[in-house]
Symmetry: C2
């Protein structure tokens, strides 16, 4: 008898699993079931459809050569039978049958399986707050959401995005591009919590503000105001007028079906699977946004739903369900975002995650151009490396800026996966020519700074700590070693000018026992100055990580 | 007594070594000597200066904030004494003295050292052929070369570039942009020999021809014709008119000084150094273009001079000379080139290098968009993976196309450094969002194909072999499984149309025992078709690697 493989959920993970299962086991009968109308679409592309960057929603559901991935396509090309508009209402594990409900006809039926793959995905988290059900309070997940959102995006109207994560910010840009006046409201005191450390997130926030988006952090939405439609967002005692609200506070895994069938859920609340993506029932696999996975650095279970992970997992679940053998090792928490002209992301652990996981960390903030500085179109990016102090092992990279951050993230993701140390990172034979990087790539420079710090040759202070020293009115000198021309243009309030080229001959003008913190535009000259002072016997010198370019607070105007 | 460190050669490696040595050992007296006028310039930027992409040659010698790195800069900022226009004529190793000649005054002097660092660089290889000394036969190395070349680049004139390597092609673009009629002459039968395999190099050649550059491969220049200036290039019996000739057949290490001092040269002809970059004289180090290094995959000594390597080595030599401890492990042969709109490069071993080193290899050609295909500005790139068949270990990646090849090279360079297998490569948690890649990054897709091949699920044929079969009039079917519309637009002469969507129902129309080779635009559908035929019991099916996009030969016109 032919093996019967049933896949529940026909998006990234499910569609991939079904196709792969059929290729691995061409004799198998593979059925792909989805409660929705549209299948195999790129949900990650929705903000670009809303902003008209992608003109036709069909493009999100098509192959690279423009063929729509519909039921017909799956039948003809993949040999997979698709049932859309069909809800799986239950799993009878004993008799290996799924119960189905045709959502248009209301008819029930059932379908036997030898292997079942759950790819039920995730849903936007809807906070249980007052009037959250008003019709113009939308989410960003399905094609229907996309079309609704696009229709509601009226130029001049006020949009409130609840949630300053990846989807929230992408949607903010999309609605702003449609002419809306956009406010992003984030409960935590920074944007992109869980992705970036505060000083990196502030760089993104700064950019959003420059683009005209209003950003409110540390603000919890407590309810909505309006009768038939929303007219305002309630934040504690405040009311913020809104013509449209988008809820983007994150997603939750769709685990109702699995839970009802008695399948194990993990600590994260998502479906628990082993390395083969098998649940506690050997006939049932799970993949994509509905299941949890391993974090390869911490060894802990994590729930980080992403289209890239879903595709990899779909392949593994498909192979295993079809009788093959494949494993999915886990993730390291890589994510990336383009919002307006800034690219920002991270791989591995952020500093706060690393500390929360008990690592003794050293960090580096390193801004530089993404290409040879003389090459047209070179743009600055800021890297933040996080490493284990005792071993020099790289734990994470964050990157933000208008230049190419994605390639530094990908190289670092690879390095982190293989437990690279700062030393190994600094020796990578990366692709160099002026259109692609400086002779020393940003990653190499950052790794060298990290090595200097780990060896005790460089003592860094974070911009955050410098700000705190000023606020606490500590007695220290913040030494700006840039040129007078740069100093005149902008700078940090309270800093003292001492151009690097004059430092060696003006050492007597500086107090030898006071704390001196040096900086420049990117703190390479700052580091040089720190070393000069150190060599001259100054007792307490440091340099400020990342210089002006990584300073997340307001700068002073031209003097 | 202060330690005296003398560095010979003040470009990438030397300048870095001197600066680093002084930072490591601030009490040391560091002297940086160069026979030229200009120091610490970005020689890699010269083609961009010639093409006016970089307006002022000073930009090549400046820091990112516009400070010129001259003798004054090194004294004031780095604490390093620079002597320009000074030739080191000899090394007395016994008494640890270098002999100097001031090239402007003709005065001789000598300078004692405790540690000597040789960073004497490389020179363009000048073939010993007839009239190679004519004044308008130029090279691309120094700032003087750059200015001369720019002055000689007269719109409408004919330029011949001798050598189709990285520098030759960058210069071809620069001169073409200045309005010259450019011919590139390469002795080997492909461009970029030593960098790309033939089918990847042909993609670059195709692009150059589309841009109007004449490419002649397999042509050895045997001499030049002209009295006071060159008027033609002699290629065997042929004469090719030329108003300007650029010699770019590669570089040779400057080892005269080292050799005369009795220092060991390696098998490559460059200075032999250990992992600390120490020569056979414990007081003398070497770094940059004058020394050889280790290839981390083959374990062999190689000579691959690059600005990126020079900078890393300069740091290591500087630290060690100053009394510290650092090592330079080696390289994996990464290089990259932008020529017109195409980006091309490789990391690790090419297929031909891998075979020459005795590896049993499997390869994959995988073309795809560099971003989500629906994202504006997505451009195709072709990847070629080279792996060891028995272990699945990744040996090399080549990449070419208008899209972002650099980031795939950097991630692969990192993976190769850590001995990643196809399986590990396919599981990398790379940064995904539609502006940066498809949900499955090009590298992941290529790794999955490689896994399919290694597992025997996919049997590939290279475009080269398909072409050979046609030329040998073998009896086989080349099955084009694209859509009729795509087929009408262009295709491969001799192919049979069978759209993938019809294949499952038209299997009887195909002979079951004849060799059938399937393909499509990128050969994903080609692979699908290959699997369908395989599953249906066809005896001899394969798919053509890379499809239309990787087909390096002429395509037929619209039918």
């Amino acid at each position: 008898m032919k093996m019967r493989i049933v896949v529940v959920g026909a998006n990234a993970a499910g569609a991939k699993a079904a196709s792969k299962a059929k290729r691995i086991n061409p004799k198998a009968e593979v059925t792909l079931i989805d409660r929705g109308t549209f299948i195999s679409y790129g949900a990650c592309g929705i903000p670009y459809f809303v902003s008209d960057t992608v003109a036709d929603v069909k493009e999100l559901m098509s192959t690279a050569v423009g063929v729509v991935r519909d039921a017909h396509f799956f039948k003809k090309v993949k040999g997979v039978t698709v049932q859309t508009g069909v809800e799986v209402t239950g799993i009878d594990r004993e008799s290996k049958v799924v119960h189905l409900l045709d959502t248009s006809t209301g008819q029930s039926s059932s379908l036997g399986y030898d292997r079942l793959i759950l790819a039920t995905g995730s849903s936007p988290f809807i906070p249980a707050i007052d009037k959250v059900g008003l019709p113009n309070i939308l989410t960003v997940k399905s094609i229907a959401d996309a079309e609704l959102l696009k229709n509601c995006a009226i130029s001049g109207d006020r949009a409130c995005i609840v949630g300053g994560g990846l989807i929230g910010l992408e949607t903010a840009e999309a609605l702003q591009k449609k002419g809306m006046r956009v406010t992003v409201i984030e409960m935590r005191d920074q944007l992109l919590p869980g992705v970036l450390d505060p000083e990196m997130a502030y760089l993104v926030e700064k950019h959003l503000r420059q683009q005209g988006v209003t950003v409110m952090t540390g603000c919890a939405v407590t309810g909505f105001i309006g009768h038939t439609t929303v007219s305002a967002v309630r934040i504690g005692g405040q009311e913020l007028p809104a013509d449209l609200v988008v809820l983007a506070p994150g997603v939750t895994p769709n685990v109702g079906l699995a839970r009802a069938a008695g399948l194990d859920l993990g600590v994260t609340g998502a479906i628990s699977v082993d390395a083969r993506l098998c649940t506690n029932d050997p006939a049932i696999y799970a993949c994509g946004d509905c299941c949890e996975t391993n974090h390869l650095i911490t060894g802990k279970k994590v729930y980080i739903p992403l289209g890239s992970t879903a595709n990899k997992q779909g392949r593994v679940a498909g192979i295993n369900a079809a009788g093959g053998e494949a494993v999915f090792a886990g993730v390291i928490g890589t994510s990336i975002l383009k919002v307006f002209n800034i690219n920002a992301g991270k791989t591995g652990l952020s500093e706060s995650e690393a500390r929360a996981n008990g690592f003794d960390v050293e960090t580096v903030l390193s801004p530089a151009h993404d290409k040879a500085h003389f090459f047209p179109g070179a743009k600055p990016i800021v890297l933040k490396l996080v490493a284990e102090r005792t071993t020099g092992r790289l734990l994470g990279l964050q990157a933000a800026g208008e230049g190419a951050v994605d390639k530094r993230l990908d190289a670092a993701a690879t390095a982190i996966t293989f437990h690279a140390t700062a030393e190994q990172l600094s020796q990578l034979d990366l692709a160099y020519a002026p259109p692609y990087s400086a002779a020393m790539d940003n990653l190499i420079v950052a790794a060298d700074i990290l090595k200097n710090k780990l060896a005790g040759h460089a003592r860094g202070v974070s911009p955050h700590d410098v700000k705190r020293k000023f606020d606490a009115e500590e007695d220290f000198i913040l030494l700006d070693v840039r040129s007078p021309a740069e100093y005149d243009e902008t700078g940090i309030e309270g800093a003292t000018l001492m151009p690097l080229g004059l430092l060696r001959e003006k050492l007597e003008e500086l107090p030898r026992n006071k704390e001196i913190i040096t900086f420049c535009k990117v703190s390479l000259r700052g580091y040089e100055a720190h070393r000069i002072l150190d060599a001259a016997g100054f007792e307490n010198t440091k340099y400020m990580d990342g210089g002006i370019l990584a300073w997340p607070y307001p700068l002073r105007d031209a003097s």
